[in-house]
């Protein structure tokens, strides 16, 4: 009994409070989407909101168990759990039930399980266990390779289902490796490649050029700490634009804005290179080269995608990206989603008053697109509140992770942060049109038992570890 009291006093109640707010808010929205006057008994499990409530209660029970268990158990169980979940992933590929063309479910009577959800938890545990090993050195290629292997083996299996969204989640774990000492350049490189790939598909060539050049300039100024250069380069760009436009007037070069941008950028690149070589400034040269490579990369992505790939291959990439995975097409989802969120206005239409989501203009409205209901019924205030809650929880978890004395706990904490953050960013990003549609749930809000239970367990294992941070130094 003494230990229980101890734990109660050491639990981070702020995190628990944020979690409770999120799940209650989430359930209200699932209820608002699915409730109709003709539903009959609340306690029928055929209703999604009742089902979600059941999962919430089950999660509470599991959470109580988590607190009853000695915190060392999780470290101990890391590898067995990992092995078990890999087995489940393998079996799902063989005997799974296909939903939307993806074999990711195991159906056991009324309950459908998604092993890829549990695999996330097991992978974080295993990664934390491995990285906290006594002889582990993140700078040693051999160790990095194993860490990366632990991370991406499940991703590979999930890719076979195929479930692109769940596969991508594992990329987020690079954040954990980064915190543990992986060279920052790798993070920057991964982020840049992903970012470039995305903006290439999402932006027009003109906007792309502007964005990339501005970024290059910004990086240069930040790295070199010479704000004056920013002014100079901007001036030079303005002059060049003026000159190019004047030349274009006489019909020597085409006068559209894209051509003007090309010539201006070309002038700037040549000018900077000459300057860089003469002043022997490596920063200037490398910035310009990176810019050139980035522009080249985006164009090759674009070119390969549209010219080299056959149409059915393009479609496959699109489907893999989730761009065309639904019958109405990518445009339809995002548009409906934005309409629903936009129609909420500043204060929203009020609880249960949303019509866009209620009348199912929005697809998957209680699972991946649950945020539409938040946006529509709770307006900007509610949406902003949700963003605050999430960011608050994530930052709080970072604080908790940093105060761990045990390496395992810290790494595990960062794993939880990385996975939650990835889901949050990608899910919200897609509903508000900042990210391609990739079907992953919004933790604690989306309808879905496996993910709800997994995220709850994932979070509370960390809170449990944190609660006994002073007891053990694993």
């Amino acid at each position: 009994m003494r230990r229980q009291i101890d734990i109660l006093s050491t639990i981070d109640w702020l995190s628990v409070f944020l979690y409770l707010l999120l799940i209650i808010f989430g359930w209200l929205n699932v209820f608002a989407v699915n409730y109709t006057a003709a539903d009959g008994s609340f306690f029928s499990l055929s209703h999604r909101y009742t089902m979600q409530m059941a999962w919430m209660i089950l999660s509470m029970v599991v959470i109580l168990f988590i607190f009853a268990i000695d915190s060392r158990f999780f470290s101990f169980m890391a590898y067995p759990a990992y092995a078990l979940s890999m087995l489940m992933l393998l079996s799902v590929v063989v005997i799974g039930t296909a939903v939307h063309g993806s074999k990711s479910w195991i159906v056991l009577g009324p309950v459908s399980l998604q092993p890829s959800e549990f695999a996330k938890l097991a992978t974080i545990l295993a990664l934390a266990r491995y990285l906290s090993g006594y002889n582990m050195k993140i700078t040693r290629p051999h160790d990095v390779l194993i860490a990366v292997g632990i991370t991406f083996f499940p991703a590979l299996l999930i890719m076979l289902q195929p479930d692109f969204g769940s596969t991508l989640v594992y990329v987020a774990l690079v954040l954990v490796l980064y915190r543990e000492g992986l060279p920052g350049m790798i993070l920057v490189f991964l982020l840049s490649v992903a970012g470039l790939f995305l903006i290439t598909l999402l932006l027009s060539p003109f906007v792309l050029l502007i964005v990339l050049s501005s970024l290059a300039l910004l990086i240069y100024v930040i790295v070199n700490r010479k704000p004056l250069h920013f002014v100079l380069v901007s001036l030079a760009a303005a002059c060049l634009i003026l000159i190019v436009t004047m030349i274009a007037r006489y019909g020597i070069i085409p006068g559209n804005k894209l051509a003007v941008a090309y010539y201006t950028l070309g002038g700037l690149v040549v000018g900077s290179l000459v300057l860089g070589i003469r002043t022997k400034s490596r920063i200037i040269i490398s910035t310009v080269l990176v810019l050139v490579v980035a522009v080249g990369f985006t164009y090759s992505v674009d070119y390969v995608f549209h010219n080299v790939m056959k149409e059915h291959q393009q479609n496959r990439v699109n489907v893999m990206l989730g761009l065309e995975s639904d019958p109405y097409g990518y445009e339809y989802n995002v548009r409906q989603s934005k309409i629903a969120i936009g129609s909420g206005g500043f204060v929203g239409k009020g609880f249960m008053q949303g019509t866009q989501t209620k009348f199912r203009f929005v697809p998957e409205q209680s699972t991946d697109f649950i945020f539409c209901t938040v946006g529509e019924e709770w307006g900007f205030l509610g949406s902003f509140g949700l963003v605050l809650l999430y960011v608050g929880l994530l930052l709080r978890l970072i604080v908790l992770a940093e105060r761990q004395r045990s390496k395992f706990s810290r790494i595990y904490g960062y794993g939880v942060v990385a996975v939650l953050f990835f889901h949050f960013a990608v899910n919200l990003g897609m509903t508000i049109g900042l990210f391609p549609v990739i079907g992953i749930p919004l933790p604690f809000l989306s309808y879905g038992g496996s993910s709800f239970l997994t995220f709850s367990v994932m979070l509370f294992i960390f809170i449990r570890l944190d609660a006994s941070r002073k007891t053990y130094l694993i």
């Binding site: 003709a38 000492g181 309409i339 969120i341 009348f359």
Partner: protein, 613 residues
């Protein structure tokens, strides 16, 4: 390892940055931009299309021909559906459970289907019953539009019909949306732009249960429907009805034109059908029935049938010969039961001989007009036959033959007057003469004309040299003038003086005891006419007649075709004569009731090939 502690700030910063970007985007979507609030797909508002009534159709005297009846379509809003008594609904609608289930499944599956009515054009009784009980069936609602109602259920070929747009129509004209109606044929089609009006849109606020909560934003975005323009047609309803009565039992057409204006007074295509057949729920079934009918009632015999004009073409042959100066009205030819020359024999019937121009027309002498035609085509003034023929053809074109006239009805066909190279190909260049194509002289052989072109020829003769393109619309309400093409006279290049002998010949044909149509003369009205017996490969000759009256101030020019009516005087002439009498005097004189009765009793439709001479 602790040297990496600072990295927590970078990770935290990334999270904060994402949160910040999301907040900005949310603010943009929800507070700044109004695009998404006003989107047509937004369901806080329900957009209802207000269908305007189609323009009404009147006859030339202001008699209402077609107006509109309200009609109700039943639609389903799938996510407003609640449990309901499906058995009762099926009973009211007279459908089975399977249909209802399929209908609901359809609208649930596809957003596009939601605009499509579940059941179209409910009968008034069903609508009444259902309206009363609508509260029992949430999710079912009505959409009101109008359907044609015919006060005078006639002139189907002229009025045309209204049907539902298909994807090609929608693609061609952005105005239309799925489920809209448009004029498919007849006047409904030609004047669709005027008749359809402008659809209105009403945005209604609705609550979660789909109940209306008033108009959106005080109706600021609503647009009113504009009723279609009414049309005054040129036809005379009484005459049209009488014409259809007379033509019952025959296959053919009547086209009557007011010569001074080109206005079509009567437009009968027989066999016809009632336009009301193609309105309402039975439209599809009736259309199929008409389509499969062996007498082809959907075919427009007045502007799509091409026939040899037969002897009604003789005035044309004659006029051109006079204009070309190869003959005068005093030119005389012998006729010994036909025309004999170099192995060519053009048979003729028995009549006094020799004859001059006027009396040849009166008795319809084949030999006389064969002579004139040969003189015209082999005229030494021209270097060769082809040139002479081209000149001849130009006269014919200026009389409105060959190309379609340009009537304001869709699908008009032209006739056929071969170009010289047609004969060059057929006989070889320079190897054909007047004799080679002699049968054209009397409207046989290669010549084909449509009934409306024949009526137009009668109008040209009545006007002594010009015509207005025949048309069917006299006035469009709210529009100042009709198309200028119908108000510009078209000149033939035949001088007025040459019409006098033609008209005199046509007068005698009807009013002289030796004329071909003496039995259809009228005691008071001087009718000028020309019979035709159009030989054709399909069976007995067609009975053809063109006429105008009165002689000195023509009010009506008419063409009548009765397929396989054998002689022009047997059916076409009496029908034309009765039409003229009806139009000019308003009644049928007692002594002519016998003629009328004979026409009404006649029936060629179902025994046409048994008729023998």
């Amino acid at each position: 390892m602790e040297q990496y502690t600072n990295r927590k700030f970078i990770i935290g910063a990334i999270i904060l940055l994402v949160g910040f970007v999301f907040t900005i985007q949310l603010f943009r979507l929800q507070v700044i931009s109004s695009t998404y609030k006003l989107s047509a797909e937004s369901n806080t508002r329900r957009m209802e299309i207000v269908y305007p009534a189609r323009g009404l159709l009147y006859d030339r005297n202001g008699v209402l021909i077609a107006d509109n009846l309200p009609s109700y379509d039943l639609k389903i809003a799938p996510y407003e559906l609640e449990a309901f008594d499906s058995l009762q609904l099926c009973k009211i609608l007279g459908i089975d459970m399977e249909t209802l289930r399929n209908g609901i499944r359809r609208v649930k599956r596809s957003a596009a289907e939601r605009f499509n009515p579940f059941i179209k054009q409910l009968s008034p009784e069903v609508y009444g019953t259902l309206k009363e009980k609508q509260w029992m069936f949430p999710g079912f609602y009505f959409s009101t539009r109008t359907l044609r109602e015919y006060r005078r259920d006639f002139a189907a070929h002229l009025l045309g019909y209204v049907g539902e747009v298909d994807s090609t129509v929608i693609k061609a004209d952005g105005y239309y949306e799925l489920g809209d109606y448009y004029g498919v044929s007849g006047v409904e089609s030609t004047y669709e732009q005027y008749l359809r009006g402008v659809k209105g849109r009403k945005y209604k606020l609705i609550d979660v249960h789909g109940r209306e909560q008033g108009s959106y934003n005080e109706g600021r975005y609503d647009t009113d429907a504009e009723v279609g323009h009414d049309l005054t047609l040129t036809i005379d309803a009484e005459l049209q009805a009488y014409g259809e009565l007379l033509m019952d039992g025959y296959k053919g057409s009547i086209v009557a034109i007011q010569p001074k204006t080109g206005e079509i007074l009567t437009f009968v295509s027989a066999p016809g059908y009632k336009p009301s057949l193609l309105v309402g729920r039975d439209r599809e079934a009736n259309y199929r029935m008409l389509r499969n009918d062996t007498v082809n009632p959907l075919f427009n015999y007045a502007i799509q049938a091409q026939y040899p004009p037969g002897s009604t073409f003789k005035p044309v042959t004659g006029m051109i010969a006079l204009q070309e100066g190869v003959a005068t009205e005093r030119t005389i030819y012998y006729c010994n039961l036909g025309y004999h020359a170099r192995g060519v024999y053009q048979r003729c019937h028995s009549h006094p001989s020799p004859l001059d121009f006027i009396h040849s027309l009166e008795t319809s002498c084949n030999a006389y007009f064969s002579n004139l035609f040969r003189l015209t085509i082999e005229n030494r003034r021209y270097p060769d036959v082809a040139t002479a023929y081209s000149h001849w053809r130009q006269y014919i074109l200026n009389l409105g033959f060959a190309d379609p006239l340009g009537v304001d009805l869709p699908y008009e066909k032209g006739g056929f007057i071969p170009k010289p190279d047609y004969f060059d190909r057929y006989f070889g260049a320079g190897r054909w003469y007047g004799l080679t194509i002699l049968s054209m002289a009397i409207g046989q052989g290669e010549v084909l004309t449509t009934p409306i072109q024949n009526a137009n020829m009668a109008a040209v003769i009545a006007n002594r040299g010009y015509f207005y393109v025949p048309h069917i619309v006299k006035k469009i309400a709210g529009v100042d003038t009709i198309d200028s093409k119908y108000t510009t006279p078209m000149l033939s290049n035949i001088d007025t003086i040459y019409f006098a002998p033609v008209i005199e010949g046509m007068r005698l044909a009807v009013n002289s005891p030796s004329g071909t149509a003496y039995w259809v003369r009228h005691p008071e009205v001087v009718i000028c006419g020309k019979t035709g017996t159009a030989e054709n490969p399909h069976g007995p000759a067609h009975s053809v007649f063109i006429a105008f009256a009165p002689k000195d101030d023509p009010q009506i020019a008419i063409s009548v075709y009765v397929e396989h009516g054998v002689w022009g005087a047997r059916y076409a002439a009496p029908i034309a004569s009765l039409m003229i009498e009806k139009y000019l005097t308003g009644t049928i004189a007692p002594e002519r009731k016998g003629i009328e009765q004979r026409m009404l009793d006649g029936n060629l439709l179902y025994k046409e090939h048994e008729t023998t001479n």
